[in-house]
């Protein structure tokens, strides 16, 4: 099938290119004819413009004489272009060579580059969704309809929530867990599930309603790690980096290194640290990771002001040194600038943000920071 289409395409292309060579033709119109036609048209336009009065008589006269001179010259140029037409035999040869080149080279190049064995793999295509998946989705919809008729069956809603979540109908899952939480508001698990479903529905964003659900869970169980993680994420997404970091750091301090969510938490801590200009690898939940652990970072907060200053200055200096060797690191300059700003080294901060703007003149973060520095 595929090769059949290739062959068809190649034959059409070769034919379009080769057939004109075979067809007998009269000689091409001479170039001089075209020139004569143009100058005649120019004269007519001139006449029209003069009649309309949009051009002065003297100007028109001068233009007319000039165009006429060119017209005469073009008409004189009668020498025909040299013609060296191919004999019919040679034409056949040319056509054959053209067709052969197209077909053979196309085959060779495709042989070298193509992947004829790989079928198309569309990710979404309604008609080709596997049968079970389609029915699972449908099942979730039907079950939702059924549940709405007897909305006080807690077990039913919980099953529906699981089903809808597993087939990706997060909207239905949210509905199910809302009902579950309504029926049994004292159960932390329902609030957790509701929060998760809302986050999944919003493509990973912890929006106010999800935050609400986790907040409820936290009221019921102040130690609940899931609620604490997601509330931290909400802060992080709102750019309350300090709040997010604090929440996560506190959670990390109570997290056993083999907890399921340890890796997730560590990544969050690193991202928050990076945004605040703290050195990234210096936070870790898992004990294997190098650098000071979260506990040490906690400790750093309890250090005396001077010690902490020295520690931070050291980190900033390391960053600055690294940037000297690698001056095109945009993120690096932004981080350094923020760090300087926090340390109150305003001139250094301005210089660092200036470097960032040199790399990316329209970088909004750098411009905003610069403006803020200049204002304050």
């Amino acid at each position: 099938m595929l090769y059949g289409l290739f062959a068809l395409l190649a034959v059409v292309a070769a034919a379009v290119l080769a057939l004109p060579v075979l067809r007998r033709r009269g000689s091409a119109a001479d170039r001089a004819d075209h020139d004569v036609a143009l100058y005649r048209a120019q004269l007519l336009e001139l006449q029209a413009e003069r009649d309309a009065g949009t051009i002065g008589p003297a100007e028109a006269e001068a233009a007319r004489i000039e165009v006429e001179r060119r017209l005469l010259r073009a008409a004189d140029r009668t020498a025909p272009a040299p013609r060296a037409e191919l004999s019919p035999g040679n034409r056949k040869a040319v056509a054959a060579v053209v067709a052969a080149i197209v077909a053979v080279l196309a085959g060779l190049i495709y042989h070298a580059q193509g992947n004829p064995g790989l079928p198309d793999r569309p990710a979404v295509r309604a008609a080709e969704v596997p049968a079970e998946e389609a029915s699972a989705d449908e099942l979730a919809v039907r079950m939702a309809a059924a549940m709405r008729k007897r909305p006080n069956e807690l077990r039913g809603w919980l099953m529906q929530g699981q089903l809808a979540g597993s087939v990706g109908r997060y909207d239905l899952a949210v509905e199910a867990y809302e009902n579950a939480a309504r029926l049994e508001p004292g159960n932390t698990g329902h609030w957790q599930s509701l929060g998760l479903a809302r986050v999944a529905r919003d493509a990973g964003m912890v929006n106010p309603d999800a935050r609400d659900a986790f907040g409820k869970a936290l009221v019921l169980d102040p130690k609940d790690p899931m609620a604490r993680y997601y509330l931290g994420l909400a802060d992080f997404q709102d750019h309350n980096d300090r709040a997010a970091f604090d929440r996560w750091a506190a959670l990390a301090a109570e997290t056993p290194p083999d907890a399921e969510y340890a890796a997730l938490l560590e990544r969050g801590l690193k991202r928050a640290a990076r945004r605040m200009g703290l050195p990234v690898p210096d936070v870790a939940v898992t004990p294997a990771a190098p650098g000071p652990s979260a506990a040490q970072v906690e400790a750093a907060r309890d250090m005396s002001e001077d010690d902490r200053g020295a520690m931070i200055e050291g980190m900033v200096q390391r960053l600055a040194d690294r940037l000297k060797e690698n001056p095109d690191d945009l993120d690096g300059w932004l981080r350094l600038g923020k760090a300087y700003a926090v340390l109150g080294r305003k001139e250094d901060a301005v210089r660092a943000f200036g470097q960032a703007i040199r790399i990316d003149p329209s970088n909004p973060a750098a411009q905003e920071a610069l403006a803020a520095l200049k204002d304050g």
Binding site: L2, F6, L9, A10, A13, V16, L17, L19, P20, L22, R23, R25, S27, A28, D30, H34, D35, A37, R40, L43, E49, A52, T54, E59, A63, R64, E68, R70, L71, A81, P82, A84, E85, L86, V94, V98, I101, V102, A106, I109, Q113, G114, L118, D120, R121, A123, V124, R125, D202, A203, G204, M205, P208, Q237, H239, P327, R358, S362, A371, D375
Partner: protein, 661 residues
């Protein structure tokens, strides 16, 4: 199967271009009609194959076929439909494929609408166009194949950059490319003329519609890009002189010069060699711009070093195109003798001034863009930034604009300067008066009054010229009829020049009297900017399809009267984690109100940026008017004249001057 078919079609397109680029060239050289005849069908075939290939890639994007590496890298199942489509050309490989498609489109355009061209000449034009396509097709297939496959197939794609999800950006590149690539036709015409050894008024008239079309697209493309920067980047600026913008501006300047010098060739059969050179340079700048900047190959040393294949190919291609065409030019140009003489005071001279200034401006920008790049290669850090351009460019334009008013009033060949100046006296007085009034009555910087004076001068002198043409003061009764009878080309010029005037007003006034306020306020507070009182009514979270946002609500009052309500947003996307600023803009005829909401402060207040930008929308209105002028000029009936049959004189109509034939 569809993907592989697209790949095969691309390979066939390369071979078809190879044939189209050689056989007709030999045919034209030997005068063999049969070989010449290959050119036209080949051009149509080329378009069909390129379109098939482009459609296949688009399909892969539409259905999110992540077995195609290009789709996996640049798309995502959650992307809105519009951005799946625009994702096709939002990356290096796809943008090269778009180039190829548009090249083929223009080639087929010449094949379809170029019936008035001599067969041999058209064959040469199409052959050159095909040779350019060979370069791009080979580049695409051998270094940047859009149809490379992945096995195993990734679960989801990688490309969900929210900053690029914007309708302005979706349509900006195709528009720009229509401009860039459109100039390839002017280039092909120039090379064909050099091979043929003849450049004459007929040539100039043939090349004009293509140049006009390309120029109009490029103008629209640049304006769209600047508008996008204005409202999406949220910093209130509309032109930053960054390399990407400069890359599109250089061919625009050269193309504008080409448009004007081609008129001189058409009317006066002189300035030929310069016009050919401009055609070559314009396209070379287009190539340089799209290769070096848009494809991102040279923007950083690292990408160049990590992908030497592409870099070497691009350099070789540029050297071949630019070097080859300039060599051909050097050999053939001396034989192009001008036949029309003209005095120093004439329309020709004023057009030469136009050309010189535009060429110098293009060179200055080229220098300012490439110098930092080159310096970086050898280890220096130089930055040629906006302040440099902001001084040099207006200074150059200040030289040009007096001639824009004066030139059209001078006759061809030998103009009457005294008469022209007499007619322009009212315009001059008006301009000086306006400038003085601005300087005395307002508190703007000195250059603002100069800008306003230039705008008034240009408007008034263009209208003076129009009034003279239609005899508004000599025979007012017939003015309307005459205006209708004016050639579309003349109207096009008038409209485009007025567009520039509108743009000058916009630039001068908005830069001089823009008022901005960057501050921290809480809901209920108000800030007054440029006479407008912005009241922050509320700030709250809102939820979008794949983002969460903070939305501010501003009410704006002027003199206590309600003017507008603005809803700026800061949107946060989860995957990839990114933030975009959606400025809220209320475009008024007299000026834009522009609000941006920034970070929350710890005390419950919000960072806001508020602007009042008087007349700023006139900048884009001016560009639109220029495009309109281009379109009107393009519709000129005269551009279609030139075929021996079509122009045959109808019986009974006397042709002045050729009666004796």
């Amino acid at each position: 199967m569809i993907v592989e078919l697209g790949h095969f079609a691309l390979i066939l397109a390369l071979l078809a271009a190879l044939v189209q680029g050689t056989v007709p060239l030999v045919g034209a050289h030997r005068g063999d009609a049969a070989l010449i005849a290959v050119a036209r069908p080949a051009a149509f075939l080329q378009l069909a194959l390129a379109a098939l290939s482009f459609a296949a890639l688009t399909w892969a994007y539409l259905v999110s076929d992540f077995s195609v590496a290009n789709v996996a890298l640049n798309s995502h199942t959650d992307k809105p439909l519009l951005y799946k489509i625009s994702g096709v050309w939002g990356n290096h490989e796809g943008s090269i494929l778009l180039w190829i498609l548009i090249l083929a489109l223009f080639g087929a355009g010449v094949a379809a609408f170029g019936r008035n061209l001599p067969d041999a000449f058209r064959a040469r034009v199409l052959a050159i166009q095909a040779l350019i396509a060979v370069g791009f097709l080979a580049f695409s297939l051998f270094t940047s194949n859009p149809f490379a496959r992945l096995d195993p197939v990734p679960l989801n794609g990688n490309g969900l950059n929210p900053l690029l999800q914007d309708p302005g950006l979706a349509f900006h590149p195709p528009m720009l490319y229509l401009g860039y690539v459109g100039f390839s036709i002017a280039f092909s015409f120039a090379i064909a003329a050099l091979i043929e050894g003849r450049v004459d008024p007929a040539w100039a008239r043939w090349v004009r519609p293509w140049t006009l079309a390309a120029w109009s697209f490029l103008t629209a493309g640049i304006a769209l890009g600047s508008w996008w920067a204005y409202y999406e980047l949220g910093w209130g600026g509309w032109w930053f002189w960054d390399p990407v913008e400069n890359a599109s501006f250089m061919p625009w300047l050269a193309g504008t010069a080409l448009l004007h010098s081609a008129i001189v060739v058409e009317k006066r059969d002189t300035l030929k060699s310069w016009t050919i050179l401009l055609a070559i340079l314009t396209f070379s700048l287009s190539l340089l711009g799209s290769f070096l900047v848009r494809s991102g190959v040279l923007t950083s040393v690292h990408s160049f070093a990590s992908d030497p294949e592409r870099g070497v190919f691009i350099l070789a291609f540029l050297i071949l195109v630019v070097g080859g065409s300039l060599t051909l030019y050097a050999v053939r140009a001396p034989s192009m003798k001008p036949t029309g003489m003209f005095s120093p005071i004439s329309r020709e001279t004023s057009l030469i001034v136009n050309n010189l200034v535009l060429a110098v401006a293009a060179f200055v920008i080229l220098f300012g863009t490439l110098y930092p790049l080159l310096a970086k290669e050898v280890g220096y850090q130089v930055s040629v930034a906006a302040p440099f351009f902001n001084i040099v460019f207006p200074a150059l334009m200040a030289l040009l604009i007096p001639f824009m008013g004066l030139g059209p009033l001078l006759a061809w060949k030998r103009g009457n300067l005294r008469e022209a100046l007499r007619r322009l006296r009212p315009a001059f007085v008006l301009a000086v008066a306006a400038g003085l009034a601005v300087a005395v009555l307002t508190e703007g910087p000195f250059w603002a009054s100069i800008g306003v004076a230039y705008g008034v001068w240009l408007t008034a002198s263009v209208l003076t010229e129009l009034a003279g043409r239609v005899g508004l003061f000599r025979a007012p009764g017939q003015a309307l009829r005459r205006a209708a009878g004016l050639p579309r080309g003349a109207w096009g010029m008038t409209i485009a020049h007025l567009g520039i005037a509108v743009m000058i007003f916009g630039i001068a006034v908005s830069s001089a009297w823009q008022r901005e306020e960057i501050t921290v306020i809480e809901p209920g507070d108000s800030v007054t900017v440029g006479g407008y009182r912005f009241v922050l009514d509320a700030v709250g979270p809102v939820r979008g399809p794949n983002y969460a946002a903070i939305r501010g609500t501003f009410s704006v009052y002027k003199n206590g009267k309600f003017v507008a309500r603005l809803f700026p947003e800061t949107r946060r996307f989860a995957d990839p984690p990114q933030e975009t600023t959606e400025a809220a803009i209320d475009p008024l005829f007299t000026g834009d109100l522009y609000a941006v909401i920034g970070q929350a402060q710890s005390d419950g207040r919000w960072g806001v940026r508020l602007y009042h930008k008087p007349l700023v929308s006139w900048i884009w209105a001016g560009a639109l008017i220029m495009v309109l002028g281009g379109m009107v000029s393009l519709s000129d009936r005269r551009l279609r004249v030139g075929a021996p049959r079509a122009a045959r004189v109808p019986a009974g109509v006397p042709v002045p001057g050729v009666a004796g034939e």
